[in-house]
């Protein structure tokens, strides 16, 4: 059957799927709950890029695809398409976040205190070879009584750092905007995009892409080198309107999020404006413990408020090229046969040679 290049597709796909299954099954058992409990940050990354909050399904997706981030995001996004969308949640007030970590780079001390919480920031990145031998039963806490439940104290809640600045009129006054948010998952973005659409798009964006955009802006292709007013990580309640009584809301669960507020001096051109200079903010909010992405998001957000010709200041550029699914889909489609279009190209090239 060598005379038709693309015949036998069905058999080939079946065999390919069988091979994939062989690659996936290592013989060593790894359960979904094991991935969920041990690969938390990876699970968080998947949930954030998928725009789908379920630690269990994210872990399941990872198990199913040999740990590929884009494949796992893909699986969750596809599953998301099958679910009816019954509600939009009520706005979340992050002042009511049950904190596990909260820092401010803007002030030495803040009301409520700096709470370092779990972070790799001050760990030394030395490969810990003792983990090669670690077994669940051999985990030895430094002292006998230091278990996670002993470490936990009272729940921590505190106000935001920006509330202080706002009280001093140092923050740019932003009027309250209660227009219905734009839903990027069921509408095509149009430009200029409303801020709600920008923030949603960034929140689901590929972490690497968003990091690159933010980095370029900080390094000089753009103007945003912000101060992190506050980075907080913790649990917030998600509520939806109660069907039988619109004034009531129903709590449907808790999600872990990272929130960042970054501050940059507002743009001034005249001396008069300089005197009235205030601070403007960039905002980042990401599912899970996802700090760099949240900071990158706040920079990307702030960058779109500035004028200029760099990539990070170009709305259409940054909002249309950062989606994991879209970029990996379009790049991978080049593996599909293109012989008809190529035949047309050959036809044109040959004519030119003959001419």
């Amino acid at each position: 059957m060598a005379y038709v290049a693309v015949t036998g597709g069905k058999e080939a796909i079946e065999q390919s799927l069988k091979l994939l299954e062989l690659f996936r099954e290592s013989g060593e058992d790894i359960t979904v709950s094991c991935i969920k409990e041990n690969m938390r940050l990876l699970v968080d990354k998947i949930m954030s890029e998928a725009g789908f909050y379920s630690e269990e399904y994210a872990a399941l997706a990872l198990k199913q695809c040999e740990g590929s981030v884009e494949e796992a995001v893909f699986l969750l996004r596809a599953y998301r398409s099958t679910l009816p969308r019954n509600y939009y949640s009520s706005p979340v007030d992050t002042r009511e976040m049950r904190l596990i970590r909260r820092i401010s780079a803007a002030f030495k001390d803040i009301p409520g205190g700096q709470i370092l919480g779990p972070t790799y920031d001050y760990s030394h990145r030395l490969l810990n070879f003792s983990l090669l031998e670690e077994r669940p039963d051999s985990i030895n806490h430094e002292s006998e009584d230091e278990t996670l439940s002993d470490l936990s104290g009272d729940d921590i809640y505190c106000g935001r750092v920006t509330d202080l600045l706002r009280a001093e009129n140092l923050l740019k006054e932003v009027p309250e905007d209660n227009t219905e948010p734009f839903d990027v998952t069921s509408n095509l973005l149009t430009f200029p995009a409303p801020r709600s659409a920008r923030l949603q798009t960034f929140a689901r964006s590929d972490a690497g892409f968003l990091g690159g955009v933010a980095y370029s802006s900080m390094r000089g292709y753009g103007a945003v080198h912000p101060t992190v007013s506050e980075l907080r990580c913790g649990y917030v309640e998600v509520c939806v309107p109660y069907v039988l009584d619109e004034t009531e809301t129903l709590c449907i669960g808790e999600i872990l999020v990272t929130e960042v507020e970054a501050l940059v001096p507002s743009h001034t051109e005249t001396a008069d404006e300089f005197d009235k200079m205030t601070l403007a903010g960039g905002y980042g909010m990401i599912f899970g413990r996802n700090e760099n992405k949240a900071i990158a998001m706040s920079i990307a957000d702030a960058s779109l408020e500035t004028e200029g010709n760099t990539p990070s200041q170009d709305q259409e550029f940054v909002l249309t090229h950062g989606d994991s699914l879209e970029m990996s889909g379009f790049i991978s489609h080049l593996k599909l046969p293109h012989y008809v279009t190529f035949q047309s190209k050959l036809d044109r090239v040959r004519e030119k040679e003959e001419a």
Binding site: P84, H333, Q343
Partner: protein
């Protein structure tokens, strides 16, 4: 079949399908206009035909008969993959016979046998915006369409002429719909462009990644862009014929014969070619 406990008929939830059908209706009402829609993610790669698949999934019913082709071939891996997905979540009958199909989904080709008014051709589109080659920004191209400001496009064709003495666009050759909208016919060869004009059938175009749907209803005027003194040209297969069924005047694939090293040709539309060969062998019960 995929399990019905976790998945709906035709994969998408009913609300999503209804939403997509509304966009399709709008597209039919404004031929050639790109209707934005809330493109859903599918279990198949974005950029692999998800716009077409979303249209197919939204319009398909249990009685439909589906044919899927990729680059003219029923057997191509992508066609097989899409058929498998739709079959698994709908259970509809799948065929390779373009005359038996009620819905044909295709990438990069329009079948050789003219389609009827009780059939729908769904085309997959990577880049729906025909003006993208002259203007990268969506906000600007949208305005250009609104004002029918197409001088940039004509100028780019003219520049091509001055540089190469010919228009160098190979496939995905831009068309004018009802003298109003310039439309990207999807990456079909130039040879297929004329089939869009005054057709019996409904053409639906879906771009999943770019979140656009557009349509050519039956008997719509669709012209490939040309200048009065420079006629539109299609691919040239003069003097060549299919080595399997002998067909001439069809779009051919160029293949190098491994044994002789010679260039040979075969029908690109594999369903059409198989049908011809079956009839030549007196087999009139042509099925799958």
């Amino acid at each position: 079949m995929i399990d019905t406990k976790h998945y709906n008929f035709a994969f998408l939830d009913e609300g999503s399908k209804r939403e997509i059908r509304r966009s399709i209706l709008k597209a039919v009402a404004i031929p050639g206009y790109q209707v934005p829609f809330g493109s859903r993610e599918l279990p198949i790669g974005r950029g692999w035909g998800t716009g077409g698949i979303q249209i197919t999934l939204s319009i398909i019913g249990k009685e439909d008969v589906l044919k899927v082709i990729d680059q003219g071939s029923d057997e191509s891996v992508n066609a097989v993959n899409i058929k498998k997905m739709v079959e698994e979540c709908t259970g509809v009958e799948i065929t390779t016979d373009s005359e038996k199909a009620t819905i044909i989904q295709s990438r990069h080709r329009i079948p050789e046998i003219p389609m009827r008014n009780d059939q729908i051709l769904v085309l997959q589109v990577p880049t729906p915006e025909p003006l993208r080659i002259v203007e990268p920004k969506e906000s600007v191209t949208k305005q250009m369409h609104a004002e029918a400001e197409y001088s940039g496009m004509w100028l780019s064709l003219f520049e091509d002429l001055t540089l190469y003495d010919k228009i160098s666009i190979s496939s995905e050759y831009p068309t004018m719909v009802e003298n109003r909208y310039i439309m990207n016919p999807s990456p079909i060869p130039r040879y297929d462009n004329r089939k869009l004009n005054d057709s019996e059938t409904l053409y639906l175009f879906g771009a999943g990644r770019e979140k656009k749907i557009y349509a050519i209803p039956p008997h719509t005027k669709v012209e490939s862009l040309f200048f009065d003194d420079v006629p539109f040209e299609t691919e040239n297969f003069e003097g060549k014929s299919c080595r399997l069924c002998g067909a001439t005047g069809v779009f051919l694939d160029e293949i190098v014969d491994e044994a002789t090293g010679e260039k040979v040709y075969e029908c690109n539309d594999t369903g059409f070619c198989k049908g011809r060969r079956d009839r030549q062998h007196g087999n009139t019960n042509f099925k799958n």
